[in-house]
Symmetry: C2
Subunit: 129 residues, 2 copies
DNA sequence: GTCTTGTTTCGACGTTTGTCGATACAGCGA
DNA sequence: TCGCTGTATCGACAAACGTCGAAACAAGAC
């Protein structure tokens, strides 16, 4: 059944988690915390890195696989990976010569559920305007 | 039937929409586009503003309601609202003396579904309504 | 018209960010 | 041991960002 449904992944404060932010006003601390994660997603290169890592078979990718597809230098990629790691969005480990990165699904899920809107999707055009 | 399967909501390019970014690598354009939206969410004040607007009854709030809860000046709030608006996350309209803002649910839903991870986190809601 | 109140725009400022080349560190093989 | 390859850190720089006060604009009240 559910494949990874109990990562037990901390999630830290359950308060900031899983309750759509459109339901009740975000607290100051929660907002600061979440803003850091969104900031990590606010760069095209990092977004593509994250997507690329997750898309790799096994869900992890070697840094050596990640430098090719981009127009930026290797130190820049390394910097972006560090940002993603410090935001808690990916994990990493050195295995021999290479360093591997993988996405932490719980972090993405937290943000996803936070952005969920009650009746969303439907919302036939609202006012359009 | 399925509740959120064909919002038809403009969304501009459907390509960037609704397919979790962990499934396949994000394209360059899509990433640039999405990064702008995430950047709008990458500030604590904006995150709280968005949450606050959505939490207001009727789903919209007057600017006059939004300046109180923050420690920053009113022009700064106005600036943040502009950023949110230009990112397509909120809409606004002047009605007489006051200007009202509301959240655009489709935009949040787009980001939410994008961050969704295959087996990740419960998120049973889904259908919600 | 002239105030008054609500909101946005303008200029300026210090800080943060993304990028680079150069360099340091880590592990492997000869 | 030495060299080679893969990755991270350092220092520097320009560009972008968040913030402010001052000023402009918008709508209603007097």
């Amino acid at each position: 059944m559910s494949n990874l449904e109990l990562p037990v992944l901390d999630q830290g404060d359950a308060a900031a988690c899983c309750s759509p932010m459109v339901r009740e006003p975000l607290g100051e601390e929660a907002a600061t915390d979440l803003a850091k994660m969104f900031k990590a997603l606010s760069d095209p290169v990092r977004l593509r890195l994250l997507s690329l890592i997750a898309s790799y078979e096994g869900g992890e990718a070697c840094v050596c696989d990640l430098t090719g597809p981009f127009d930026v230098s290797q130190p820049t990629i390394s910097h972006h990976l560090k940002v993603l790691r410090e935001a808690g969005l990916v994990g990493s480990e050195r295995r021999g010569t290479w360093v591997y990165y993988w996405v932490l699904p719980a972090a993405l899920a937290k943000l996803s559920s936070l952005l969920q809107t009650p009746g969303a999707a439907a919302v036939p055009a609202k006012g359009a305007r």
